[in-house]
């Protein structure tokens, strides 16, 4: 039974085992490498994607449960040539060291700003608290989200 869903605005039909993790589908079947494997345990946030606008872990999420829904990955926000304002804000603040955590964090920031365009610092911290950053870039990342909010990041 094929599974139909929308990924970054594009209709996708998959003839695949419904228990396959969404992360594997994105990375290996749709060649969307921006959602990253970090733990497979919903503990680090590197695989975060939007499902119907809500930030969700892709590592444990079975593809069958995403049927009929809309998934947005980091590639759905912007490209190197046409950056989304949140991506732009992260580059402007140079809010990254190794950068492995960033795509998941930007996804959570997008969900936050969509629902709350003028978040306080503690709103931002609360929205990002499920994400780990091992390089210690936290203060810059928070500043980048604040800067994106000031730029009026569009939904």
């Amino acid at each position: 039974m094929p599974i139909e869903l929308t990924v970054n605005g594009r209709a996708v039909t998959l003839d695949i085992d419904a228990t396959t993790p969404l992360l594997d589908i994105l990375r290996n079947h749709l060649d969307l490498k921006g959602s990253r494997y970090g733990c497979g345990l919903e503990q680090c946030g590197t695989c975060m994607v939007l499902i119907d606008g809500e930030p969700e872990y892709a590592c444990t999420r079975e593809i069958g449960s995403v049927a009929g829904r809309s998934v947005i990955t980091i590639e759905g926000l912007g490209t190197p040539e046409r950056l989304h304002p949140i991506q732009q804000a992260f580059l402007q603040e140079q809010a990254g060291q190794c950068g492995y955590c960033l795509s998941g964090i930007i996804i959570s920031a997008k969900a936050l700003l969509d629902r709350n365009p003028h978040p306080s610092r503690s709103d931002i911290v609360a929205a990002l608290d499920k994400h780990l950053c091992r390089c210690g870039t936290h203060t810059r990342i928070v500043a980048a989200v604040q800067s994106a909010a000031r730029m009026g990041a569009p939904a």
Partner: protein, 701 residues
Amino acid sequence: MSETLPLSIVNNRRLERWLRFQPDRTVKLAVGKVEIGQGVLIALSQIAAEELDVALDRIDILSGDTDDAPDEGSTSSSQSIEVSGRSVRLISAELRTRVLGRLAQRLNCAVEDLSVEDGVFLQEGNPTGYDYWSFAGPEDFATDIAGTAEPKPPSTYRVVGQPIPRRDLIAKVTGAAFIEDIVRPDMLHARILRQPSRGARLTSLDEAAVRKAGGGPIRIVRVGDFVALVGEDETVVQRAGVAAPAHAVWTGVRMLSPNQQEAMWFRDQPSDDRHFGDPGPPATGVVVSETYSRPFVAHAALAPSCALAEYCGGHLSVWSHTQGVYPLRNSLADILRLRRDQVTVRHAHGAGCYGHNGADDAALDAAIIALQIPDHCIRVQWRREEEFGFEPVSTAHMTRIQAVLDEAGRPVDWTAEVWAGSHVQRPVFGGTMLAHEALPDPPPPAKANDPPEANGGGGTRNGFPLYDVGAKRVIHHLALATPVRTSSLRGLGALPNVFALECFMDELAERAATDPVVYRLSLLSDLRARHLIENVAARCGWASRGPAGTGQGLGLAWSRYKNKAGYACVAVELEVDLDITLRRVWCAANAGLVINPDGARNQLEGGIVHAASMTLKEQVTLEGDGITSLDWDRYPIMTFSEVPEIDVEIVHNPDLPTLGMGECTFGPTAAAIGNAVAHALGIRIRDMPLTRERIAAALVR
């Protein structure tokens, strides 16, 4: 001259190994140091652009490639800008000098009349019709690098010293950017069934059960006690990999007990004992002694290790997020009995490593499989619990400091005594590679090892105080064996030793009934250090610091990394209730000429957060057949809601040589937290991590 040349040049004397002018009017800069999130590539590009006088965006940098880039060993120990940066500066200056010298002959003018503007040559400001791309030729590259050309004076810098954004971050915020994302033709995914410990033998493996768990076709590759599960579908291979340990029976597994996870365990272990500094016996007077410790800690990279390897036509190509492509190539060739010219290792970006983690081991895994399955690209992805369970960890480390005090309570004799395992066991330094131990012909056990004192030492790193305290000595008990593999992690022994030294200074100040900052300054003649302490003390409001024991703490500490690299002073304000809440951190650092101040600031901040996480939260736990802190719940690190406000100031000193600064905030942050907690509680906790349990125990004591 050659004895003063940086090692990078001594080992790579051919100019064309480093620089080439390319037909598209770019400049290829090839370097051996690699990007590990520290921003080294933009900084090295800035140096080359500056000395060659070409626009920065013309620099096309290639890093970490055993075919096409120079051998600069490992990217470690805050050496990249000090050594590689100095090399790139000398080499670029030399190339420019050679080319302009020839041009002056051609034009029959003085070299001083010539200038370079974005690679185009001008004579007294007028076009000459020549530029690097049309004029530079094989003769400019023909002789070895002499290193004698005079680089530009820093006062004329236009590119160096600017906060120029990194180029690699664009990919990292938009999509594919890392080794994990590389797709090659005929790629097969692999997971490893790990040998639980050195010497363990696989007595049975229920292959049918593993295949069933995978739910699709897999090939099981077995070489000695090395077992890999390989297939086209990563989901299948991952499921088989997760299931496999439960279907394997091993004998000869070494068992661990929790007492081995504490630094105290090293007190009773056989060791190589070394004595540095002034001979004893110490002077007579009041003797004061305290002991401090840090447990085993993990690199805990955000991504488990990954590697790709292809064996085609007798040549092995490997992609790795290793810190050193040449050392890895040499190890792979030796272990797999290939000639070095049969192996190419290329660096690909990975998650931050902070030292020697599983990267190199994953590369050997992939290479072993590639030799068994030629003409395919083998992609090995470690699982999360595999990275936590099998990466080399940083050794537990205990430091006892003993001081002899004069009547005024000032030290006149100082002994630091260190008990620890090896702080560096890279394969080139006596260590072993993980899968090698499972092969039919395993290597001898790893030899206890530490870097030489000239390189800053390992267990002894920052063991000597830079205070004026009379006689100083360090006694190092390097344990001959460790319960689990240990190797380098950011700063090596600097964090535990600076924690001990700077906490002890506060304790001595308290004994002498003197303010800790005043006490430090009274024993310190290094002007750069004094200036940083005064800077931070002023910014953090030290003068109005409250009394001890109120639950509010302010602590300060400083060090000069390796006693010869960058200086940093850190103050921490925190609250202690049941837990410790960091409020604010102030830092001042001095590292001479700073190539990219924004990158430097990022490194200083990152070091503060990393060190705070280690000081407050981190400990690798051991029990049964190995490490038990196998996920982020059992190895928690600092989160967004726990990170304090951080205020970093870089003291600019452009006329002094650049000093490595990636690790300089590490020790001072740990010690400043230790001192702030003691100030808040009125009680000293000397063993890291400073957890809720330790605070409760200290309050009861």
